[in-house]
Protein backbone atom coordinates (compact mmCIF):
# COMPACT_ATOMS: atom_id res chain seq x y z
CA UNK A 1 0.00 0.00 0.00
CA UNK A 2 1.26 3.42 -0.80
CA UNK A 3 1.92 5.70 2.11
CA UNK A 4 -0.74 8.41 1.67
CA UNK A 5 -3.37 5.79 1.01
CA UNK A 6 -2.34 3.99 4.17
CA UNK A 7 -2.51 7.16 6.26
CA UNK A 8 -5.95 7.99 4.92
CA UNK A 9 -7.11 4.45 5.70
CA UNK A 10 -6.00 4.81 9.32
CA UNK A 11 -7.63 8.21 9.62
CA UNK A 12 -10.92 6.71 8.43
CA UNK A 13 -10.69 4.05 11.12
CA UNK A 14 -10.00 6.69 13.78
CA UNK A 15 -13.00 8.65 12.53
CA UNK A 16 -15.08 5.48 12.75
CA UNK A 17 -13.95 4.97 16.34
CA UNK A 18 -14.84 8.51 17.34
CA UNK A 19 -17.99 9.00 15.26
CA UNK A 20 -20.66 7.66 17.64
CA UNK A 21 -19.13 9.48 20.59
CA UNK A 22 -18.84 12.78 18.72
CA UNK A 23 -22.41 12.41 17.50
CA UNK A 24 -23.72 12.02 21.05
CA UNK A 25 -21.86 15.13 22.21
CA UNK A 26 -23.07 17.22 19.27
CA UNK A 27 -26.64 15.97 19.63
CA UNK A 28 -26.73 17.06 23.26
CA UNK A 29 -26.61 20.73 22.22
CA UNK A 30 -29.61 20.31 19.95
CA UNK A 31 -32.28 22.93 20.47
CA UNK A 32 -35.05 20.86 18.89
CA UNK A 33 -37.28 18.33 20.59
CA UNK A 34 -35.99 15.38 18.64
CA UNK A 35 -32.65 14.10 17.58
CA UNK A 36 -31.99 15.64 14.25
CA UNK A 37 -28.78 16.19 12.43
CA UNK A 38 -27.46 18.77 11.87
CA UNK A 39 -28.93 20.17 15.12
CA UNK A 40 -31.67 22.77 14.88
CA UNK A 41 -29.71 25.49 16.58
CA UNK A 42 -27.54 25.27 19.65
CA UNK A 43 -28.85 25.36 23.19
CA UNK A 44 -28.28 24.03 26.68
CA UNK A 45 -31.96 23.25 26.95
CA UNK A 46 -31.51 19.51 27.38
CA UNK A 47 -28.86 19.99 30.02
CA UNK A 48 -31.39 21.99 32.06
CA UNK A 49 -33.97 19.25 31.59
CA UNK A 50 -31.39 16.70 32.71
CA UNK A 51 -30.25 18.69 35.77
CA UNK A 52 -33.87 19.07 36.83
CA UNK A 53 -34.67 15.40 36.30
CA UNK A 54 -34.57 13.91 39.78
CA UNK A 55 -34.45 10.34 38.39
CA UNK A 56 -31.18 10.94 36.56
CA UNK A 57 -29.70 12.99 39.39
CA UNK A 58 -30.44 10.22 41.86
CA UNK A 59 -28.86 7.71 39.47
CA UNK A 60 -25.72 9.85 39.24
CA UNK A 61 -25.48 10.06 43.02
CA UNK A 62 -25.90 6.28 43.28
CA UNK A 63 -23.22 5.75 40.62
CA UNK A 64 -20.75 8.11 42.28
CA UNK A 65 -21.36 6.52 45.67
CA UNK A 66 -20.90 2.96 44.35
CA UNK A 67 -17.85 3.94 42.30
CA UNK A 68 -16.22 5.53 45.35
CA UNK A 69 -16.86 2.52 47.58
CA UNK A 70 -15.69 0.17 44.83
CA UNK A 71 -12.54 2.22 44.31
CA UNK A 72 -11.61 2.07 48.00
CA UNK A 73 -12.31 -1.64 48.47
CA UNK A 74 -10.81 -2.69 45.15
CA UNK A 75 -7.83 -0.39 45.75
CA UNK A 76 -6.99 -1.99 49.09
CA UNK A 77 -7.53 -5.61 48.05
CA UNK A 78 -5.84 -5.15 44.68
CA UNK A 79 -2.81 -3.39 46.14
CA UNK A 80 -2.32 -6.09 48.74
CA UNK A 81 -2.58 -8.79 46.08
CA UNK A 82 -0.08 -6.96 43.86
CA UNK A 83 2.37 -6.70 46.77
CA UNK A 84 2.07 -10.43 47.32
CA UNK A 85 2.45 -11.08 43.61
CA UNK A 86 5.66 -9.10 43.26
CA UNK A 87 7.42 -9.92 46.51
CA UNK A 88 6.17 -13.28 47.79
CA UNK A 89 4.41 -15.27 45.06
CA UNK A 90 7.50 -17.23 44.00
CA UNK A 91 6.50 -20.24 41.94
CA UNK A 92 2.83 -19.27 42.09
CA UNK A 93 3.43 -16.03 40.21
CA UNK A 94 1.76 -17.03 36.95
CA UNK A 95 -1.20 -18.62 38.79
CA UNK A 96 -1.76 -15.49 40.86
CA UNK A 97 -1.60 -13.31 37.76
CA UNK A 98 -4.12 -15.38 35.80
CA UNK A 99 -6.45 -15.59 38.82
CA UNK A 100 -6.29 -11.83 39.36
CA UNK A 101 -7.00 -11.13 35.69
CA UNK A 102 -9.79 -13.75 35.51
CA UNK A 103 -12.67 -11.28 36.02
CA UNK A 104 -11.40 -9.38 33.00
CA UNK A 105 -11.09 -12.50 30.83
CA UNK A 106 -14.45 -14.07 31.70
CA UNK A 107 -17.55 -12.81 29.87
CA UNK A 108 -19.10 -10.05 31.95
CA UNK A 109 -22.63 -11.26 31.32
CA UNK A 110 -21.81 -14.72 32.68
CA UNK A 111 -20.14 -13.25 35.77
CA UNK A 112 -23.21 -11.08 36.29
CA UNK A 113 -25.61 -14.03 35.99
CA UNK A 114 -23.57 -16.22 38.29
CA UNK A 115 -23.40 -13.48 40.92
CA UNK A 116 -27.14 -12.88 40.70
CA UNK A 117 -27.88 -16.56 41.42
CA UNK A 118 -25.27 -16.60 44.12
CA UNK A 119 -26.49 -13.61 46.11
CA UNK A 120 -29.96 -15.15 46.07
CA UNK A 121 -28.76 -18.64 47.09
CA UNK A 122 -26.90 -17.29 50.12
CA UNK A 123 -29.86 -15.12 51.09
CA UNK A 124 -28.15 -11.81 50.37
CA UNK A 125 -30.63 -10.83 47.67
CA UNK A 126 -30.48 -7.57 45.76
CA UNK A 127 -32.28 -5.42 48.31
CA UNK A 128 -29.01 -3.88 49.42
CA UNK A 129 -25.93 -2.74 47.56
CA UNK A 130 -23.73 -5.63 48.74
CA UNK A 131 -24.18 -7.77 45.63
CA UNK A 132 -23.62 -4.89 43.26
CA UNK A 133 -20.53 -3.66 45.06
CA UNK A 134 -19.05 -7.16 45.15
CA UNK A 135 -19.62 -7.35 41.38
CA UNK A 136 -17.99 -3.98 40.81
CA UNK A 137 -15.02 -4.88 43.01
CA UNK A 138 -14.56 -8.13 41.06
CA UNK A 139 -14.61 -6.39 37.71
CA UNK A 140 -12.29 -3.52 38.76
CA UNK A 141 -9.80 -5.62 40.73
CA UNK A 142 -7.70 -6.56 37.66
CA UNK A 143 -7.14 -2.88 36.83
CA UNK A 144 -5.81 -2.04 40.29
CA UNK A 145 -3.68 -5.18 40.21
CA UNK A 146 -2.19 -4.38 36.78
CA UNK A 147 -1.35 -0.80 37.70
CA UNK A 148 0.12 -1.50 41.13
CA UNK A 149 2.16 -4.51 40.05
CA UNK A 150 3.50 -2.53 37.08
CA UNK A 151 4.62 0.26 39.41
CA UNK A 152 6.41 -2.29 41.60
CA UNK A 153 8.49 -3.77 38.81
CA UNK A 154 11.49 -1.66 39.77
CA UNK A 155 11.03 -2.34 43.47
CA UNK A 156 14.05 -3.96 45.14
CA UNK A 157 13.25 -6.09 48.25
CA UNK A 158 16.68 -5.12 49.57
CA UNK A 159 15.36 -1.64 50.39
CA UNK A 160 12.78 -3.12 52.69
CA UNK A 161 15.41 -5.37 54.27
CA UNK A 162 17.67 -2.37 54.82
CA UNK A 163 14.87 -0.54 56.59
CA UNK A 164 14.16 -3.62 58.68
CA UNK A 165 17.80 -3.88 59.76
CA UNK A 166 17.59 -0.26 60.82
CA UNK A 167 14.73 -1.16 63.11
CA UNK A 168 11.69 -0.23 61.04
CA UNK A 169 8.63 -2.31 61.80
CA UNK A 170 6.36 -3.95 59.28
CA UNK A 171 3.97 -1.02 59.06
CA UNK A 172 6.70 1.64 58.98
CA UNK A 173 8.41 -0.23 56.16
CA UNK A 174 5.22 -0.23 54.19
CA UNK A 175 4.46 3.43 54.88
CA UNK A 176 7.95 4.83 54.36
CA UNK A 177 9.44 2.55 51.69
CA UNK A 178 6.82 0.68 49.72
CA UNK A 179 3.95 3.15 49.62
CA UNK A 180 5.88 6.16 48.22
CA UNK A 181 7.23 3.90 45.48
CA UNK A 182 3.96 2.37 44.44
CA UNK A 183 1.84 5.50 44.97
CA UNK A 184 1.51 6.35 41.25
CA UNK A 185 0.34 2.80 40.54
CA UNK A 186 -2.13 2.81 43.41
CA UNK A 187 -3.63 6.17 42.45
CA UNK A 188 -3.76 5.24 38.76
CA UNK A 189 -5.35 1.87 39.51
CA UNK A 190 -7.90 3.42 41.86
CA UNK A 191 -8.91 6.11 39.39
CA UNK A 192 -9.30 3.52 36.69
CA UNK A 193 -11.37 1.35 39.03
CA UNK A 194 -13.57 4.40 39.62
CA UNK A 195 -14.11 4.96 35.90
CA UNK A 196 -14.81 1.30 35.16
CA UNK A 197 -17.26 1.09 38.04
CA UNK A 198 -18.97 4.28 36.90
CA UNK A 199 -19.41 2.93 33.36
CA UNK A 200 -20.07 -0.76 33.95
CA UNK A 201 -23.50 -1.89 32.83
CA UNK A 202 -24.23 -5.61 32.74
CA UNK A 203 -23.15 -6.39 36.31
CA UNK A 204 -25.17 -3.49 37.68
CA UNK A 205 -28.16 -4.38 35.53
CA UNK A 206 -28.33 -7.94 36.86
CA UNK A 207 -27.65 -7.07 40.48
CA UNK A 208 -29.70 -3.94 40.88
CA UNK A 209 -32.42 -3.91 43.46
CA UNK A 210 -35.90 -2.52 42.93
CA UNK A 211 -35.84 1.26 42.50
CA UNK A 212 -32.08 1.41 42.60
CA UNK A 213 -30.39 2.47 39.39
CA UNK A 214 -26.92 3.52 38.42
CA UNK A 215 -26.51 6.05 35.65
CA UNK A 216 -25.86 3.53 32.83
CA UNK A 217 -28.94 1.52 33.86
CA UNK A 218 -31.11 4.62 33.99
CA UNK A 219 -29.82 5.68 30.60
CA UNK A 220 -30.46 2.23 29.13
CA UNK A 221 -34.02 2.18 30.48
CA UNK A 222 -34.61 5.67 29.16
CA UNK A 223 -33.27 4.81 25.70
CA UNK A 224 -35.63 1.88 25.32
CA UNK A 225 -38.61 4.23 25.13
CA UNK A 226 -37.37 7.79 24.61
CA UNK A 227 -35.53 9.52 21.83
CA UNK A 228 -35.11 13.09 23.09
CA UNK A 229 -31.67 14.71 23.25
CA UNK A 230 -31.86 14.55 27.05
CA UNK A 231 -30.10 11.18 26.88
CA UNK A 232 -27.35 12.84 24.86
CA UNK A 233 -26.92 15.50 27.55
CA UNK A 234 -26.70 12.78 30.22
CA UNK A 235 -24.17 10.86 28.11
CA UNK A 236 -22.05 13.93 27.46
CA UNK A 237 -21.82 14.72 31.18
CA UNK A 238 -20.80 11.15 31.85
CA UNK A 239 -18.14 11.28 29.10
CA UNK A 240 -16.80 14.60 30.43
CA UNK A 241 -16.59 13.17 33.93
CA UNK A 242 -14.56 10.10 32.94
CA UNK A 243 -12.35 12.07 30.57
CA UNK A 244 -11.70 14.60 33.35
CA UNK A 245 -10.54 11.81 35.66
CA UNK A 246 -8.15 10.52 33.01
CA UNK A 247 -6.81 13.93 32.02
CA UNK A 248 -6.30 14.96 35.65
CA UNK A 249 -4.45 11.76 36.45
CA UNK A 250 -2.30 11.79 33.35
CA UNK A 251 -1.58 15.50 32.91
CA UNK A 252 -1.83 16.95 36.41
CA UNK A 253 -0.61 14.03 38.47
CA UNK A 254 1.71 12.87 35.69
CA UNK A 255 0.56 9.27 35.98
CA UNK A 256 0.70 6.65 33.32
CA UNK A 257 -2.40 4.51 33.63
CA UNK A 258 -1.98 0.96 32.43
CA UNK A 259 -5.12 -0.39 30.90
CA UNK A 260 -3.80 -3.73 29.81
Amino acid sequence: MSKPFFTVYCLIIYAFLLAPIAVVVIASFNAGAFLTFPPQGLSFRWYLVFFNNEVFMRAIRTSLWIATLTMVISGIIGTMAAMFYVTHAGKLKETVRVAMLAPLLLPEVLTAISLLFFVYSVGLGTQNLVGMIVGHVLITLPFVFINVSASMESYDPAWSLAAQSLGAGRFTRFRRIMLPLIKPGVIGGCLFAFIISFDVFTISFMLKGVGMSTLPIQLFDYLRTNFTPEAAAVSTCSIVLTMAVVVISEKVLGLRIHRF
Binding site: P20, A81, P107, F201, T202, P216, S235, M243
Partner: protein, 285 residues
Protein backbone atom coordinates in the same frame (compact mmCIF):
# COMPACT_ATOMS: atom_id res chain seq x y z
CA UNK B 1 10.02 -15.21 73.61
CA UNK B 2 8.41 -17.38 70.99
CA UNK B 3 8.84 -16.07 67.48
CA UNK B 4 5.36 -15.62 66.02
CA UNK B 5 4.72 -17.57 62.84
CA UNK B 6 4.25 -14.27 61.04
CA UNK B 7 7.26 -14.75 58.85
CA UNK B 8 5.68 -17.70 57.10
CA UNK B 9 2.03 -16.79 57.12
CA UNK B 10 2.30 -13.01 57.04
CA UNK B 11 2.64 -12.68 53.27
CA UNK B 12 -0.36 -14.95 52.75
CA UNK B 13 -2.50 -12.38 54.55
CA UNK B 14 -1.76 -10.03 51.66
CA UNK B 15 -3.34 -12.31 49.10
CA UNK B 16 -6.07 -13.67 51.40
CA UNK B 17 -8.72 -10.97 50.73
CA UNK B 18 -8.32 -11.29 46.96
CA UNK B 19 -8.27 -15.09 47.15
CA UNK B 20 -11.42 -15.17 49.29
CA UNK B 21 -13.17 -12.66 47.06
CA UNK B 22 -12.36 -14.58 43.87
CA UNK B 23 -13.07 -17.95 45.46
CA UNK B 24 -16.39 -17.05 47.04
CA UNK B 25 -17.73 -14.60 44.48
CA UNK B 26 -16.29 -15.90 41.22
CA UNK B 27 -15.44 -19.61 41.40
CA UNK B 28 -18.40 -20.74 43.52
CA UNK B 29 -20.96 -18.71 41.51
CA UNK B 30 -19.63 -20.14 38.23
CA UNK B 31 -19.96 -23.68 39.58
CA UNK B 32 -23.41 -22.72 40.81
CA UNK B 33 -24.51 -21.90 37.23
CA UNK B 34 -23.77 -25.51 36.26
CA UNK B 35 -25.82 -26.80 39.18
CA UNK B 36 -28.60 -24.34 38.41
CA UNK B 37 -28.89 -25.57 34.81
CA UNK B 38 -29.97 -29.02 36.14
CA UNK B 39 -32.57 -27.68 38.57
CA UNK B 40 -36.32 -28.04 38.12
CA UNK B 41 -38.13 -24.98 36.82
CA UNK B 42 -40.13 -23.37 39.61
CA UNK B 43 -43.70 -22.11 39.86
CA UNK B 44 -43.59 -18.50 41.00
CA UNK B 45 -40.04 -19.01 42.23
CA UNK B 46 -36.86 -18.81 40.16
CA UNK B 47 -36.30 -22.56 40.52
CA UNK B 48 -37.99 -25.57 42.12
CA UNK B 49 -36.78 -28.51 44.21
CA UNK B 50 -35.10 -31.49 42.57
CA UNK B 51 -32.98 -31.94 39.49
CA UNK B 52 -33.68 -32.63 35.83
CA UNK B 53 -32.14 -32.83 32.38
CA UNK B 54 -35.22 -31.12 30.99
CA UNK B 55 -33.61 -27.70 30.53
CA UNK B 56 -31.14 -29.13 28.06
CA UNK B 57 -33.91 -31.21 26.48
CA UNK B 58 -35.88 -28.01 25.90
CA UNK B 59 -32.86 -26.42 24.26
CA UNK B 60 -32.18 -29.29 21.86
CA UNK B 61 -35.83 -29.93 20.98
CA UNK B 62 -36.57 -26.33 20.04
CA UNK B 63 -34.92 -25.29 16.81
CA UNK B 64 -35.54 -21.65 17.74
CA UNK B 65 -32.78 -21.72 20.33
CA UNK B 66 -30.33 -23.67 18.17
CA UNK B 67 -30.93 -21.22 15.36
CA UNK B 68 -30.26 -18.40 17.78
CA UNK B 69 -26.94 -19.91 18.86
CA UNK B 70 -25.98 -20.24 15.19
CA UNK B 71 -26.95 -16.61 14.53
CA UNK B 72 -24.97 -15.43 17.54
CA UNK B 73 -21.90 -17.41 16.47
CA UNK B 74 -22.25 -16.07 12.95
CA UNK B 75 -22.43 -12.47 14.21
CA UNK B 76 -19.37 -13.23 16.35
CA UNK B 77 -17.40 -14.60 13.38
CA UNK B 78 -18.22 -11.67 11.14
CA UNK B 79 -17.46 -9.13 13.86
CA UNK B 80 -14.10 -10.79 14.54
CA UNK B 81 -13.18 -11.01 10.88
CA UNK B 82 -14.11 -7.39 10.13
CA UNK B 83 -12.22 -6.21 13.23
CA UNK B 84 -9.14 -8.10 12.02
CA UNK B 85 -9.28 -6.66 8.52
CA UNK B 86 -9.95 -3.12 9.72
CA UNK B 87 -7.63 -3.27 12.71
CA UNK B 88 -4.47 -4.85 11.35
CA UNK B 89 -3.27 -1.85 9.28
CA UNK B 90 -3.97 0.48 12.20
CA UNK B 91 -2.06 -1.81 14.56
CA UNK B 92 0.82 -1.84 12.11
CA UNK B 93 0.84 1.93 11.90
CA UNK B 94 0.73 2.31 15.68
CA UNK B 95 3.67 -0.07 15.96
CA UNK B 96 5.79 1.15 13.04
CA UNK B 97 4.43 4.49 11.87
CA UNK B 98 5.84 7.99 12.38
CA UNK B 99 6.11 8.77 16.08
CA UNK B 100 4.04 11.97 16.07
CA UNK B 101 1.14 10.10 14.62
CA UNK B 102 1.62 7.20 16.97
CA UNK B 103 0.87 8.91 20.31
CA UNK B 104 -2.27 10.52 18.92
CA UNK B 105 -3.40 7.31 17.27
CA UNK B 106 -2.87 5.36 20.46
CA UNK B 107 -5.00 7.85 22.39
CA UNK B 108 -7.69 7.66 19.71
CA UNK B 109 -7.80 3.87 19.87
CA UNK B 110 -7.96 3.83 23.66
CA UNK B 111 -10.43 6.66 24.26
CA UNK B 112 -13.57 4.76 23.16
CA UNK B 113 -12.81 2.27 25.93
CA UNK B 114 -13.33 5.04 28.47
CA UNK B 115 -16.84 5.75 27.27
CA UNK B 116 -19.54 3.51 28.69
CA UNK B 117 -20.97 0.83 26.44
CA UNK B 118 -24.52 2.19 26.74
CA UNK B 119 -23.39 5.58 25.45
CA UNK B 120 -21.45 4.13 22.53
CA UNK B 121 -24.39 1.98 21.48
CA UNK B 122 -26.66 5.01 21.82
CA UNK B 123 -24.34 6.91 19.47
CA UNK B 124 -24.88 4.20 16.89
CA UNK B 125 -28.65 4.42 17.21
CA UNK B 126 -28.36 8.13 16.37
CA UNK B 127 -26.26 7.29 13.33
CA UNK B 128 -28.02 4.18 12.05
CA UNK B 129 -31.70 4.76 12.83
CA UNK B 130 -34.33 5.19 10.11
CA UNK B 131 -34.30 8.88 10.97
CA UNK B 132 -30.62 8.71 11.77
CA UNK B 133 -27.80 10.78 10.39
CA UNK B 134 -26.72 8.35 7.70
CA UNK B 135 -30.20 7.79 6.29
CA UNK B 136 -31.09 11.48 6.41
CA UNK B 137 -27.90 12.50 4.70
CA UNK B 138 -28.27 9.93 1.94
CA UNK B 139 -31.92 10.88 1.45
CA UNK B 140 -30.95 14.55 1.45
CA UNK B 141 -28.43 13.94 -1.30
CA UNK B 142 -31.09 12.10 -3.25
CA UNK B 143 -29.09 8.88 -3.29
CA UNK B 144 -31.87 6.78 -1.75
CA UNK B 145 -35.64 7.07 -1.72
CA UNK B 146 -36.50 5.47 1.60
CA UNK B 147 -34.37 4.80 4.66
CA UNK B 148 -31.90 1.92 4.41
CA UNK B 149 -32.51 -0.77 7.03
CA UNK B 150 -29.37 -0.17 9.10
CA UNK B 151 -30.80 -0.75 12.55
CA UNK B 152 -32.92 -3.49 14.12
CA UNK B 153 -31.03 -6.08 12.09
CA UNK B 154 -27.82 -8.09 12.16
CA UNK B 155 -26.02 -5.50 10.02
CA UNK B 156 -26.51 -2.76 12.60
CA UNK B 157 -25.46 -5.07 15.43
CA UNK B 158 -22.28 -6.03 13.58
CA UNK B 159 -21.36 -2.42 12.75
CA UNK B 160 -21.75 -1.38 16.39
CA UNK B 161 -19.98 -4.47 17.74
CA UNK B 162 -17.04 -3.89 15.40
CA UNK B 163 -16.79 -0.37 16.76
CA UNK B 164 -17.00 -1.45 20.39
CA UNK B 165 -14.43 -4.24 20.10
CA UNK B 166 -12.00 -2.89 17.50
CA UNK B 167 -9.56 -1.61 20.18
CA UNK B 168 -9.37 -5.12 21.61
CA UNK B 169 -8.16 -6.35 18.22
CA UNK B 170 -5.75 -3.48 17.55
CA UNK B 171 -3.91 -3.49 20.89
CA UNK B 172 -2.70 -7.14 20.99
CA UNK B 173 -1.67 -7.05 17.32
CA UNK B 174 0.13 -3.76 17.93
CA UNK B 175 2.18 -5.23 20.76
CA UNK B 176 2.93 -8.34 18.69
CA UNK B 177 4.27 -6.21 15.81
CA UNK B 178 6.23 -4.05 18.25
CA UNK B 179 7.92 -7.26 19.41
CA UNK B 180 9.20 -8.08 15.91
CA UNK B 181 12.78 -7.02 15.31
CA UNK B 182 12.63 -4.47 12.43
CA UNK B 183 15.98 -5.73 11.16
CA UNK B 184 14.26 -8.98 10.10
CA UNK B 185 12.13 -7.04 7.64
CA UNK B 186 15.14 -4.99 6.56
CA UNK B 187 17.09 -8.20 5.96
CA UNK B 188 14.30 -9.65 3.85
CA UNK B 189 14.16 -6.46 1.80
CA UNK B 190 17.91 -6.40 1.30
CA UNK B 191 17.76 -9.97 0.03
CA UNK B 192 15.42 -8.78 -2.70
CA UNK B 193 12.01 -9.51 -1.20
CA UNK B 194 9.35 -7.04 -2.25
CA UNK B 195 7.42 -5.10 0.39
CA UNK B 196 4.51 -7.50 -0.06
CA UNK B 197 6.68 -10.60 0.22
CA UNK B 198 8.47 -9.32 3.29
CA UNK B 199 5.12 -8.59 4.90
CA UNK B 200 3.67 -11.96 3.92
CA UNK B 201 6.71 -14.03 4.89
CA UNK B 202 8.05 -12.09 7.90
CA UNK B 203 5.69 -9.60 9.55
CA UNK B 204 2.41 -11.46 9.19
CA UNK B 205 3.61 -14.86 10.50
CA UNK B 206 5.45 -13.25 13.41
CA UNK B 207 2.40 -11.24 14.40
CA UNK B 208 0.17 -14.34 14.48
CA UNK B 209 0.19 -14.58 18.30
CA UNK B 210 -1.25 -11.06 18.45
CA UNK B 211 -3.83 -11.93 15.80
CA UNK B 212 -4.79 -15.02 17.75
CA UNK B 213 -5.16 -13.13 21.03
CA UNK B 214 -7.14 -10.33 19.38
CA UNK B 215 -9.47 -12.70 17.54
CA UNK B 216 -10.23 -14.79 20.61
CA UNK B 217 -10.85 -11.67 22.70
CA UNK B 218 -13.18 -10.08 20.15
CA UNK B 219 -15.02 -13.34 19.43
CA UNK B 220 -15.70 -14.06 23.12
CA UNK B 221 -16.67 -10.45 23.81
CA UNK B 222 -19.11 -10.34 20.91
CA UNK B 223 -20.77 -13.64 21.87
CA UNK B 224 -21.43 -12.32 25.35
CA UNK B 225 -22.29 -8.73 24.40
CA UNK B 226 -25.63 -7.69 25.81
CA UNK B 227 -26.09 -3.91 25.63
CA UNK B 228 -25.24 -3.37 21.97
CA UNK B 229 -27.45 -6.14 20.52
CA UNK B 230 -30.36 -5.20 22.73
CA UNK B 231 -30.25 -1.48 21.90
CA UNK B 232 -29.43 -1.85 18.18
CA UNK B 233 -31.26 -5.11 17.51
CA UNK B 234 -34.37 -3.98 19.35
CA UNK B 235 -37.00 -6.65 19.72
CA UNK B 236 -36.54 -7.96 16.20
CA UNK B 237 -33.07 -9.48 16.22
CA UNK B 238 -32.01 -11.16 19.41
CA UNK B 239 -28.64 -12.67 20.11
CA UNK B 240 -28.26 -15.46 22.62
CA UNK B 241 -26.98 -13.19 25.38
CA UNK B 242 -30.12 -11.06 25.07
CA UNK B 243 -32.38 -14.13 25.21
CA UNK B 244 -30.53 -15.44 28.25
CA UNK B 245 -30.83 -12.16 30.16
CA UNK B 246 -34.50 -11.88 29.22
CA UNK B 247 -35.14 -15.43 30.43
CA UNK B 248 -33.52 -14.57 33.75
CA UNK B 249 -34.76 -11.05 34.41
CA UNK B 250 -38.15 -10.90 32.72
CA UNK B 251 -39.50 -14.43 32.98
CA UNK B 252 -37.47 -15.71 35.94
CA UNK B 253 -36.56 -19.01 34.26
CA UNK B 254 -33.26 -19.41 36.04
CA UNK B 255 -32.57 -23.11 35.31
CA UNK B 256 -33.40 -22.78 31.63
CA UNK B 257 -31.50 -19.49 31.34
CA UNK B 258 -28.45 -21.18 32.86
CA UNK B 259 -28.68 -24.05 30.40
CA UNK B 260 -28.87 -21.56 27.52
CA UNK B 261 -25.90 -19.60 28.86
CA UNK B 262 -23.86 -22.78 29.24
CA UNK B 263 -24.73 -24.06 25.77
CA UNK B 264 -23.56 -20.76 24.28
CA UNK B 265 -20.38 -20.80 26.39
CA UNK B 266 -19.58 -24.39 25.45
CA UNK B 267 -20.08 -23.84 21.70
CA UNK B 268 -18.08 -20.63 21.92
CA UNK B 269 -15.29 -22.39 23.82
CA UNK B 270 -15.19 -25.21 21.23
CA UNK B 271 -14.65 -22.70 18.45
CA UNK B 272 -11.99 -20.88 20.44
CA UNK B 273 -10.10 -24.14 21.04
CA UNK B 274 -10.35 -25.17 17.37
CA UNK B 275 -9.18 -21.71 16.31
CA UNK B 276 -6.33 -21.83 18.84
CA UNK B 277 -5.18 -25.22 17.52
CA UNK B 278 -5.36 -24.10 13.90
CA UNK B 279 -3.34 -20.95 14.48
CA UNK B 280 -0.71 -22.76 16.54
CA UNK B 281 -0.32 -25.31 13.75
CA UNK B 282 -0.02 -22.46 11.29
CA UNK B 283 2.82 -20.72 13.06
CA UNK B 284 4.70 -23.92 13.73
CA UNK B 285 4.53 -24.86 10.06
Amino acid sequence: MIVPPRKRFGPLLLIAPAAILLGVFLVLPYLNIVVMSFRMPGQGTPYGPGFTLGNYGKFFSDFFYIQQVINTLWIGFLTTFICLVLGYPVAWQLARGASTFRALGYALVLSPLLVGIVIRSYGWTILLGNNGIINRTLTGWGLIDGPLPLMYNALGIIIALVHVFLPFMILPIMSAIQGIDPSLEAAARSLGASKVTSFRRITLPLSLPGIQAGCILVFVLSLSAYVTPSLIGGLRVKTMAVTVVDALIDTFQWPFGSALALMLSVTGAIFVVIFGRLTVMKWKA
